[in-house]
């Protein structure tokens, strides 16, 4: 018995080895949001936001900023500015300035993914303008701009009006052939932060964007959705605006690849959407099937037209954000796909968008 006690005491002594790895919560500066900007002199401006835990303090966050050559160098710089040990395990959002995003984010994503303390769930967001300035600015009543942006994006991504873009999605689409990554864009709108749209990347470079209003239509054609809302403006009837609010969307996206005889491809991009009508200001009677079918047709025409325009824009800038290439790849043999330069072929292919709309219900009023 004594022997056992002795051994367990000796084993306990091993725990002293953990002293060097000690982390005390109050002494940690847990970075929640970081922003990265490319400066004129080709230096990198890193701004990090650390929440202040002290309940007696009126200031809710501490901002650290450094002009450096690399991301991790910034952390060394930060620890010379603060009494806290700066750690990145609680990072939630990384904001990239538009200039940096246009120059390419590969190296920075690589650094962040390499660090085992950073999870795959960290968001990537492009900021129109200077990301550091946006993060530094205070937006009342929000005490912490970083968290404000993160929560807003989280909520919007849940409603599918912008894509959820974490390191996982970004590096998945970036490393796959036949699809390009996308991220949301935010911008400073005076007294609010505004979601500005969706940034379309070519490889790791931000090339073009689509507006926030088209975000949900983009979502419908990028993936299957289980939630979402869309407001559709159907023009005017007797000088009155006709708007349909289509909600609780359920969407099934399909891509069909046709091989034409001369070796070209024709793509059928189709979305089959179900949803309920929450608002309708037109003349059709929603409880009559014929009218409802007419309305469904109008909605589908509207969505198809917008999607077709979006595809045109993507082909013009040569970004395959819908992931058409993935399906073309899967329809080819390995040799054929390797021989094909998708970037060259993509802008020329014929893409036809189709939308099938079903109104499931129309509220509790006929």
């Amino acid at each position: 018995m004594n022997n056992k006690l002795f051994i367990s005491m000796a084993v306990l002594l091993l725990l002293t080895g953990c002293k060097s790895d000690e982390r005390i919560l109050e002494k940690l500066g847990m970075v929640q949001t970081s922003s990265y900007d490319l400066l004129e002199n080709n230096k990198l401006k890193v701004t990090s936001c650390v929440p202040v835990i002290d309940p007696n303090s009126t200031i809710r966050r501490e901002l650290l900023s450094a002009e450096v050559d690399s991301i991790k160098e910034a952390r060394l710089d930060f620890s010379r500015q603060t009494d806290l040990k700066v750690v990145s395990g609680q990072l939630r959002d990384s904001l990239f300035g538009a200039k940096l995003a246009k120059a390419g984010v590969e190296d920075y994503i690589d650094t962040l993914l390499r660090d085992p303390s950073i999870a795959l769930g960290v968001r990537i967001t492009v900021v129109e303008g200077d990301a550091g300035e946006l993060l530094t600015k205070n937006f009342k009543p929000h005490t912490d701009t970083g968290r404000y942006i993160t929560h807003m994006l989280e909520k919007e991504a849940a409603g599918n009006s912008i894509p959820a873009t974490t390191f996982y999605e970004f590096s998945r689409d970036y490393n796959d052939d036949g699809i390009d990554p996308v991220t949301p864009i935010v911008k400073d709108a005076g007294n609010k932060v505004l979601i500005d749209g969706i940034a379309l990347f070519q490889e790791d470079r931000y090339v073009t964007k689509i507006s926030a209003e088209d975000g949900i239509i983009f979502g419908l054609f990028r993936d299957d959705l289980r939630q979402g809302e869309i407001a559709i403006n159907l023009g005017q009837e007797d000088g009155k605006k006709v708007v349909v609010m289509f909600s609780s969307l359920l969407n099934k996206r399909k891509i069909k690849v046709h091989h034409l005889e001369d070796g070209r491809f024709k793509i059928d991009l189709s979305a089959s959407i179900q949803g309920s009508v929450l608002e309708y200001t037109g003349k059709q009677k929603l409880n009559e099937e014929k009218d409802r079918n007419e309305l469904e047709k109008q909605i589908s025409e509207y969505i198809t037209a917008r999607a077709q325009k979006m595809v045109q824009q993507m082909q013009q800038y040569n970004v395959d954000s819908f992931g058409i290439g993935v399906h073309v790849r899967n329809s080819l043999s390995y040799k054929e796909w390797k021989a094909l330069n998708w970037r060259e072929v993509y802008p020329e292919i014929e893409v036809e968008c189709q939308t099938k709309v079903t109104i499931k219900d129309y509220g509790k009023y006929s």
Binding site: L120, N175, D176, W337
Partner: protein, 282 residues
């Protein structure tokens, strides 16, 4: 007052029941899943694919393996988390294309299935019934199934290019899970993997002990085990970098594959020679 005391008694009963019947419930569940095998059989053999004996209780603590079994199997449920992001499109129809040396890769992968060769050493301890052999098969089948599930999820969740760049995809899989009350589960769950490694290590140490005991029969078992553990611990200090560790693992894997195939063949040859010698004597 009466109701209270009743409730109290009921709760005590329930707690009692839970404690006592925990094993029964475990047994019931595995019986329901695999009616042909005794629950202990299954749990032990899953704890280590090659280990399958209910009869040699002093060899291994059945209770522990019970706990280890459930400690591992519940983690299968975590795979459900990846279904929403899972896409068949990412599999690509290119089967066995663009790789390197498939034979070499095959042997490297094969090392992950090793362990069954230890069952050779179990023969003296096991009653020669069909059931004990079947338990070995079930153990290996469950291991294969878990690898298969993990591989399928990895291919559908990560893209191929991403998978090529990830050094530890399972770690990244676990890091992706975010429960409302806890995040970064991988740090916690990797602790569970240590138990599995512990079981494997103990089995191999036991096998080594069995073998060395034959070579040096005079040595006391406790001394032998201590020396063996000290030696294997010391060896772990030789490789300094992660790449070196990988080289060691690969080479030891080759050796183990060699043993797994060579050992039975060697035994058969010995048996043949023995048989010949015997028949020529007669």
């Amino acid at each position: 007052m009466d109701t209270l005391s009743f409730l109290h008694r009921l709760s005590v009963c329930l707690v009692d029941l839970r404690l006592h019947d925990r094993e029964k419930i475990c047994a019931f569940i595995s019986d329901a899943l695999f009616p042909d095998y005794e629950s202990d059989d299954l749990q032990v053999c899953y704890g280590h694919p090659s280990f399958s004996n209910t009869y040699q209780r002093d060899l291994f603590d059945i209770q522990n393996s019970n706990a280890f079994f459930w400690m591992m199997t519940w983690m299968f449920l975590l795979l459900l988390w990846f279904f929403p992001a899972f896409r068949w499109e990412r599999f690509t129809p290119f089967i066995l294309q663009g790789g390197h040396d498939q034979v070499k890769g095959g042997i490297e992968v094969y090392a992950a299935f090793l362990g069954y060769e230890l069952s050779i050493l179990l023969f003296p301890y096991v009653e020669k019934t069909k059931k004990s052999m079947a338990a070995i098969y079930v153990g290996n089948a469950m291991l294969s199934l878990s690898y298969l599930c993990l591989a399928l999820i990895c291919f559908g969740f990560f893209s191929l290019g991403q998978l090529k760049r990830l050094l530890y995809p399972v770690l990244d899989l676990l890091a992706y899970i975010q429960l409302p009350f806890i995040e970064r589960l991988e740090n916690l769950l990797y602790g569970f993997f240590l138990f599995l490694i512990l079981m494997t290590v103990v089995m191999y140490w036991w096998a080594a002990e069995e073998a060395v005991k034959r070579i040096v029969p005079k040595l006391k078992t406790t001394v032998l085990v201590f020396v063996m553990m000290a030696v294997s611990y010391a060896i772990s200090f030789i490789p300094k970098t992660l790449d070196q560790v990988n080289v060691w693992i690969t080479n030891l894997g080759y050796a183990a594959v060699g043993i797994a195939f060579g050992f039975p063949i060697l035994l058969l040859i010995v048996l043949l020679i023995q048989g010949k010698a015997r028949s020529s004597h007669e």
